[in-house]
């Protein structure tokens, strides 16, 4: 059960997640496979409803009814995550992997100080004498760039950026190997967002943890992630080194996304975005899920479902690359 050094830290194979509704199961995550290596920063981008948060929750085993993993495997440091029970998971949580949620305001307990919450989380997973805990808490706050005085603050006394930093401090408390982040910056202003991203990257360099970072803002991760996965309608449609995906996007959806956000540099040019809107996952389109919106659609796209095709270091789920 012990992982060898050549194996990736996290391996997800053909993972499917269904939401069980009155009208039958809705597949929110469909056969997603990906790997995260030690110390790697994997970005996952996609629009709302593409299944990116559901995927994270499945990996962290935080899904609750009506969502459930219906098939597939998740291997983390040699452990089979899918078959683990809550007791076994508790040994891994916080110590081996931790999760930073999108909304710190909702994730933090409003009636406990930051120090109490840190102690609560750490104490549940590792015995530590109070003096050591206090020292560790102060150290963590300094690491994420908050004055340790704020340990005695309640969440509402902190700004949005500071709350997210406090969340990250908690996530790093037991030096995990993997930190899973679900849009931690989406509620922040650009300046605070940039500063938090730089902080995450700096901490990552220092402690060597791997990160899965989910966002709807492709440009946000452009300078931070090592590899990038693009999700559409529950599926990964393209995955590759971040630089390659930005320099030469291959899947028509990725190409469309790249043409969807204006830039503050370069010539001002008209952009078209992507026509139509993402499909209802209860009734996904036949064949390739992107075909109704795809500018390069051809006959085969509506009949068969594309598999992954390799182009350079990228994997692309599109028939254009079946050559």
């Amino acid at each position: 059960m012990i992982a060898t050094s050549t194996r990736p830290l996290l391996q997800v194979k053909d993972l499917c997640v269904d939401y069980l509704t009155d009208r039958g199961p809705v597949r929110a995550v469909d056969r997603v496979s990906l790997e995260v290596n030690k110390g790697e920063f994997l970005g996952i981008v996609g629009e709302s409803g593409c299944g990116k948060s559901t995927l994270l929750f499945a990996i962290a085993r935080l899904l609750s009814a009506p969502a459930e993993i219906s098939s597939g495997e998740v291997w983390f440091t040699g452990h089979d995550m899918v078959s683990m029970d809550e007791d076994e998971l508790r040994h891994l949580r916080w110590r081996d992997y931790s999760v930073v949620m999108q909304s710190a305001m909702n994730a933090l307990n409003p009636v406990m100080t930051i120090a109490e919450q840190l102690a609560d989380a750490v104490g549940a997973h590792q015995r530590m004498p109070p003096s050591q805990l206090r020292a560790r808490s102060k150290e963590l706050m300094r690491l994420v760039g908050i004055d340790p005085e704020h340990l005695h603050s309640y969440p509402h006394q902190l700004s949005g950026g500071m709350r997210q930093r406090a969340m990250i401090a908690m996530a790093l408390a037991l030096t995990p190997d993997l930190v899973i982040m679900d849009e931690p910056t989406s509620a922040l202003d650009v300046v605070a967002q940039r500063s938090l991203m730089l902080k995450i990257k700096q901490l990552q360099r220092e402690f060597g943890f791997a990160t899965i970072f989910v966002t709807h803002d492709m440009s946000l991760v452009s300078h931070f992630s090592d590899r990038l996965a693009v999700m559409y309608a529950g599926q990964v449609v393209e995955i590759g080194p971040t630089r390659d995906v930005f320099a030469a996007p291959k899947h028509p959806y990725t190409v469309g996304l790249m043409r969807s956000f204006p830039s503050i540099s370069g010539p001002r040019q008209p952009l078209a975005g992507i026509a139509g809107s993402p499909p209802d996952l209860g009734h996904p389109p036949s064949g390739c899920r992107f075909h109704p919106r795809c500018p390069q659609v051809f006959e085969r796209c509506s009949k068969e479902e594309p598999d992954f095709y390799t182009r350079e270091q990228d994997l692309v789920r599109c028939f254009l690359f079946d050559r």
Binding site: S48, I146, H223, I264, S265, G266
Partner: protein, 350 residues
């Protein structure tokens, strides 16, 4: 969308549509007897011309939405005034006058999910606006106009969309309905408060393009409120950067982006994630945040975060100075690029 829909310089003879004069709004914090006031906006002088898209950019809490609400008459100003074609909005007394003004200057809201009533068909909001603001139209005329409006915002076939309910529409389509409702009043200026921030990335640009098209085809001006400078650059002619209730800098979009004068604008621009920019990861991370402006004293509100702050910054509130053609910034330290007949040399160079 064609290149012709992209921003164009306003016509030379474009007249001023709306002006705010030292517009100020303070909110009392706490109870009735409290003397703590949150300064939402202080002394804002802003003008919007015909055929012009002005982008109001700033972080949350900088007062940009407060300005829109003051202009729309949702809030009463603590001091200052709003002039619509030279006439004070304060002078509007009768219901007819107020209705007339609100029709000329309607608002489009941020949340397309919360701003449409789920129990009414799309036609409801548009028809109500038409009945209220266009009494000249017959029943038949209203129907035709409603269809024309939906076509104008890109919802075709219009007849089908009129009978839909909001739940049947995507976020982008709902926001287009918001614009159609605003159009129904025959507006001169639409106050668009973060109209795309809640939309998916792939449909945002469509709504921005719609604003550009409406400006060109329907001759409507926009006050586009956003925290996203890149989108402001995409549609707007002029950029107004807000910080803590003050205007920090304003000018033609391209000029402000190419020659940001205020240290805050420089900070903001350096923080925008831009995949097209070369990779550079500065080691320094800025951790400070904008202040909540409660009973502020004199002085520049950015000084605590400003790398160039001098002694004067904590004593004297900087006023907007013209530093480049049509481009002004409120900073004691920023240098002027105008011919320096009356400009004194400033200590730090920005």
């Amino acid at each position: 969308m064609t290149v012709a829909d992209l921003p164009l310089r306003p016509r030379e003879d474009a007249r001023e549509l709306l002006r705010t004069v030292d517009l100020t709004k303070h909110f009392r914090l706490g109870g009735f007897l409290s003397s703590r006031y949150l300064h939402g906006v202080d002394g804002i002088n802003l003008s919007i011309h015909e055929d012009e898209i002005v982008a109001l950019v700033g972080e949350s809490g900088s007062g940009k939405s407060t300005i829109a609400r003051l202009i729309a008459g949702v809030y009463k100003p603590t001091a200052g005034d709003v002039l619509h074609r030279g006439q004070s909005v304060k002078g509007l007394r009768s219901r007819r006058e107020v209705l007339e003004y609100r029709g000329r200057v309607p608002m489009v809201f941020q949340d397309p999910y919360g701003s449409l009533s789920p129990v009414y068909q799309v036609s409801h909001g548009i028809m109500r606006a038409l009945k209220l603001h266009r009494p000249d139209l017959s029943r038949r005329g209203r129907q035709d106009e409603a269809e024309r409006l939906l076509e104008a915002v890109g919802l075709v076939p219009a007849r089908d969309f009129l009978s839909k309910y909001p739940y049947q529409l995507s976020g982008g389509q709902r926001q287009r309905i918001g614009f159609a409702q605003a159009l129904a009043c025959r507006p001169e200026l639409i106050l668009a408060d973060e109209p795309v921030s809640m939309l998916d990335v792939s449909v945002r640009i469509g709504v921005l393009n719609l604003m550009a098209t409406l400006r060109r085809r329907e001759r409507i001006s926009f006050l586009y409120i956003t925290h996203d400078i890149a989108s402001a650059r995409y549609v707007a002619d002029r950029l107004v950067v807000m910080y803590a209730g003050h205007v920090a800098e304003s000018g033609p979009v391209e000029d402000v982006l190419a020659h940001p004068k205020h240290p805050y604008t420089q900070l903001l621009l350096s923080a925008v994630p831009d995949p097209r920019a070369p990779i550079s990861l500065p080691e320094k991370t800025e951790v400070q945040e904008p202040p909540r402006v409660i009973n502020p004293g004199e002085g520049c509100r950015f000084r605590a975060r400003c790398p160039y702050a001098i002694e004067e910054c904590s004593r004297v509130t900087p006023l907007l100075r013209l530093l480049r053609p049509e481009h002004e910034a409120a900073c004691h330290v920023a240098t002027s690029d105008m011919d320096d007949r009356h400009e004194v040399a400033k200590p730090a160079h920005i």
